[in-house]
């Protein structure tokens, strides 16, 4: 649908040549020609190269010159042609190939033991000479996995009412990655349509085995099951693990009570409140609440009906606990069900899983996959993320000005690229440099020692 609109627009512009300058407006949507300009002037090739080199592009003797060349990239071209196992010697080759191929999507894979493009040349003796050796720890959170707890949208749609689910996910996971696991170099990226990606880039993270990645993903996992099973969130025990407790008190509870409760109208209809009642194990509490709510159709007070009913539920459940209700944490289970992050486990568990590169353009929405500042993720609004057409428009308008060094600085992409550099790339590269220098020193020490004696 969008394609036709775009093509129609283009034809008009060609025919009415003199009106071209006035009709600055570039129609919304996604088009390969726009993409060509995007890759030509806006996509931050050099930054991606620097990032993926992790400091190995320097002159220090400890640098591994083969490192960047062993990284897999994959391009999805128009007409769904898929090019896997692309690898490049350096920044120039990477940029050149992207500009030539104009991929609709760029994915980043792991760093392999040998150059991916040459993998067939290496004999596979059964010891698997061609194997991933480094890969960022990644997470993929997609809002469609929450379809059973959001009523405002479903499927690929995202709106102001349900986006907070992504905000919650970022806050919970980011805090844990830093405080619990000690990671520092973390990049959050908008996936372009309905979710977020996370790249953990510390050296320690890149060298994790599949088993360790799976363990981290399991540490984060609370929501289990699907429409076939019943207990989706099961929180037993006399206390919550400190990670879950912190997530609950610092993030989940407030978001649930202050944002989701009213915006999703979680108690406003029978169908919706039955879903919540289903999670309660105490039959007497269940029926008491049901009785109250079935009668009380019209709310007499001005307060939001969802808030009222939630308070009633909490009071009953809390008093029930004292009667020795057992070890189930009813209130927390409900809150966790509606808010706690739902990760795609498979993405995180395997080193060879590909993930879309930041700064790609999403073909269905035209939005650029821009980084999200975890410290300010509450302010992030997916609907205002720059789109391909908007950026090109901005380029057109600023075209003449040559004081600005980079083309992207003339557009709203500038802010994102600057953020990427200052809060992520520069600290990361600094730490990589230190790591390379210190491990080189250690190696020298070792060889000195072995020679000495």
């Amino acid at each position: 649908m969008t394609r036709e609109e775009v093509e129609g627009g283009r034809d008009e512009m060609e025919i009415d040549g003199c009106e071209q300058r006035e009709a600055n407006a570039i129609p919304e949507g996604f088009d390969a020609n726009y993409l060509k300009i995007y890759y030509g002037k806006l996509f931050p090739h050099a930054d991606i190269y620097k990032w993926m080199s992790y400091g190995n592009d320097g002159k220090h003797p400890g640098c591994d010159q083969s490192y960047f060349g062993r990284r897999e990239f994959s391009f999805t071209l128009e007409n769904d042609i898929y090019l896997r196992f692309q690898s490049f010697y350096g920044a120039y080759e990477l940029e050149n190939s992207i500009r030539e191929n104009c991929p609709v999507k760029i994915d980043i894979g792991p760093v392999y033991s040998v150059d991916p493009a040459k993998r067939r040349a290496y004999a596979q003796t059964g010891d698997n000479v061609f194997t991933p050796v480094e890969r960022e720890l990644i997470f993929d959170i997609d809002i469609t996995d929450y379809d059973d707890v959001r009523y405002c949208c479903s499927g690929a749609d995202v709106c102001f009412a349900c986006w907070p689910l992504m905000t919650i996910a970022i806050k919970v996971i980011d805090t844990s990655l830093r405080d619990d696991f000690g990671f520092n170099h973390i990049l959050w990226v908008y996936s372009g349509r309905r979710g977020v990606h996370c790249w953990v880039c510390d050296g320690k993270a890149r060298r994790l085995t599949n088993e360790q990645r799976g363990a981290i993903a399991d540490y984060f996992r609370v929501y289990k099951g699907n429409e076939n099973s019943h207990k989706k969130v099961s929180l037993t025990g006399h206390a919550l693990h400190p990670f879950l407790a912190r997530s609950y008190t610092e993030v989940l509870r407030n978001f649930f009570e202050l944002k989701l409760l009213p915006s999703q109208n979680l108690f406003s209809t029978e169908e919706r409140y039955e879903k919540i009642l289903d999670m309660i194990h105490d039959e007497s509490v269940k029926s008491e609440l049901r009785g109250k709510w079935q009668e009380n159709r019209r709310s007499t007070s001005k307060e939001d009906i969802n808030v009222i009913r939630w308070e009633q539920l909490k009071i009953l459940l809390q008093s029930g606990k004292q009667k020795g209700q057992g070890l189930r944490r009813g209130i927390e289970e409900i809150v966790f069900s509606y808010t706690y992050p739902r990760l795609d486990m498979e993405v995180s568990k395997h080193m060879n899983h590909l993930l879309k590169a930041p700064f790609c353009v999403h073909p269905k929405t035209g939005h650029v996959c821009v980084p999200i500042d975890p410290k300010k993720c509450e302010e992030f609004d997916p609907t205002t993320v720059p789109t391909l057409s908007k950026l090109l428009q901005e380029l057109n308008m600023e075209g003449a000005k040559s004081e600005v060094e980079n083309d992207w600085d003339k557009t709203s992409l500038g802010k994102s690229i600057r953020f990427f550099r200052t809060s992520f790339l520069q600290p990361l590269l600094k730490s990589c440099k230190e790591e390379i220098e210190s491990s080189y020193k250690t190696k020298l020490q070792h060889s000195k020692n072995s020679i000495n004696w």
């Binding site: 769904d80 596979q124 003796t125 059964g126 010891d127 698997n128 469609t144 996995d145 929450y146 379809d147 059973d148 405080d179 619990d180 696991f181 000690g182 990671f183 320690k204 994790l208 088993e211 360790q212 799976g214 363990a215 981290i216 399991d218 540490y219 996992r221 929501y223 289990k224 099951g225 699907n226 429409e227 076939n228 099973s229 019943h230 207990k231 025990g237 006399h238 206390a239 919550l240 693990h241 400190p242 990670f243 879950l244 407790a245 739902r342 795609d344 486990m345 498979e346």
Partner: protein
């Protein structure tokens, strides 16, 4: 130094355990006969552990099981030879199971599990001395540090039902990478990349180290085997080694036998008559939604391959369903490739094997998924409903649910099989394709006997 070490060893033997770490191959002479027999005894232990795990037995049960299996199989008439039998049998099995990725994938977790259960049975002192053998760069947590994290440690203990740490409890602070399973189960407090491991959890640390060491050793052994040993031993050890493994892993159903090919038109009937519940559910969902997520496509797709569905028929089958949802063109672009991949026609051309029950039971279906083992992953009501649809009811359903509650998922499936086919299944179900072929066997023999009876009847009447 040599004499001091052996001196220490003979004293230490009273205190230290007899749990070997298999660090290096023993310089022992072994009779060829013992070579095989010792290995087979140990294999029985490992196989028993494997069975126990796939039946979903809990840790305490597994520890007891391992103890019983060891006692039953690893004895030796001469007490002094018991340790040698242990060591020799391990190294022989290393030779046997180092040779392919699949063999290693089975051997490694089984040996690690065995080591872990045996470790748990050692005394605290013996455990500490064993830990000293590992190169663990861990540190016991100081008193002051303990005080600073004490309430978090207590919180963790309460969350997993462990007894609260006392003032003199010993905790170890290790990089979280060294205790993946404790991290996965949220059974430790982690802070800034370090996990605080209780002394009762130390077995995890040790097991991870044991496993990583054994994993590397297996690769090295394989290299040695392929480069020198196999040729040198082609008349003596090689035939023994090659025979030892085949009897224990069972068929993997990756090469369906010729006679069991099925065609598309038969599928719907076969689903009702011979598919296990897990595959039936996936199939029904596919027909209903005209779509399945990745996990379901793999589980069902590989099963169908094992059942005898040829590649072209498979593509036609999936296309017929998926094109109703995503269109034929998108199917060709996005899904056909992975079906061909499953059949080993793309990429690195691995011929993927259909999943066993153990693998399916341990999968983690998430939102929108329908794969996994219904006996494990379905709620009670959903499972009952599904069983009723299969024609299992009354007493039989209760028996199945009883097994499910005790986490004997494969036994539950076996009982279902028996109820549906009205005959016993002594070997138990451990692979969906086995369910299918056993079912077909019964149905075909029924057909034959019916035919026979008809023939008899015809003859009598004529």
């Amino acid at each position: 130094m040599e004499s001091a070490r052996s001196h220490r060893k003979s004293i230490a033997n009273d205190v230290v355990s007899t749990l070997p770490l298999y660090r290096s191959a023993p310089a022992l002479e072994v009779r060829l006969e013992d070579f095989t027999l010792f290995a087979m005894d140990r294999l029985r232990v490992l196989k028993g552990i494997s069975d126990g795990l796939s039946r979903g037995k809990k840790t305490e049960e597994m520890e007891q099981l391992a103890k019983d299996l060891w006692r039953a199989n690893m004895r030796h008439p001469q007490a002094s030879e018991v340790v040698n039998k242990d060591i020799i049998s391990h190294f022989v099995l290393r030779l046997v199971y180092c040779r392919t990725e699949d063999l290693r994938k089975w051997f490694l977790p089984m040996e690690t599990a065995l080591f872990r259960y045996r470790f748990r049975h050692e005394t605290a002192e013996a455990q500490r001395s064993l830990m000293a053998e590992f190169d663990l760069s861990y540190k016991a947590v100081s008193n002051s540090e303990f005080e600073s994290v004490k309430d978090k440690l207590c919180q963790v203990a309460r969350s997993i039902g462990m007894s609260l740490p006392t003032a003199d409890a010993i905790f170890y602070k290790v990089p979280f990478e060294e205790v993946p399973e404790l991290v996965a189960g949220r059974r430790v407090f982690i802070h800034k990349g370090h996990a605080y491991v209780a002394s009762t959890q130390v077995v995890s640390l040790v097991a991870t180290q044991f496993r990583s060491h054994l994993s590397k050793a297996l690769i090295l052994t394989n290299r040695k085997w392929t480069s020198t040993i196999r040729e040198q031993e082609k008349d003596r050890l090689a035939p023994i080694v090659e025979a030892l493994c085949t009897s224990y892993l069972g068929p993997d159903y990756s090469q369906p036998k010729g006679f069991s090919e099925i065609s598309l038109k038969d599928i719907d009937d076969l689903v009702k008559s011979s598919f296990p519940l897990c595959m039936r559910h996936l199939f029904e969902k596919l027909r209903e939604d005209h779509h399945l997520k990745h996990g379901g496509r793999m589980q069902l797709g590989l099963f169908l391959k094992g059942v005898g569905l040829k590649l072209d028929d498979a593509i036609a089958f999936w296309k017929a369903e998926f094109s109703q949802k995503v269109g034929a063109e998108r199917f060709d672009k996005e899904y056909a490739y992975s079906i061909r991949h499953n059949y080993g026609r793309e990429g690195k051309r691995t011929d993927y094997s259909p999943y066993s029950c153990q693998k399916i039971i341990s999968s983690t279906p998430g939102a929108g998924d329908h794969h996994g083992c219904p006996y494990r992953h379905f709620s009670e009501e959903n499972l009952r409903a599904a069983l009723n649809k299969m024609g299992v009811d009354g007493r039989a359903v209760e028996n199945v649910m009883d097994k499910v509650q005790n986490r004997h998922y494969q036994l539950a499936c076996t009982l279902t099989f028996e109820a549906v086919h009205n005959s016993s299944c002594d070997s138990g179900i451990n692979h969906p394709n086995q369910y299918f072929s056993d079912s077909q066997k019964i149905l075909q023999s029924k057909n034959h006997s019916d035919a026979k009876i008809n023939k008899l009847g015809a003859r009598e009447n004529s």
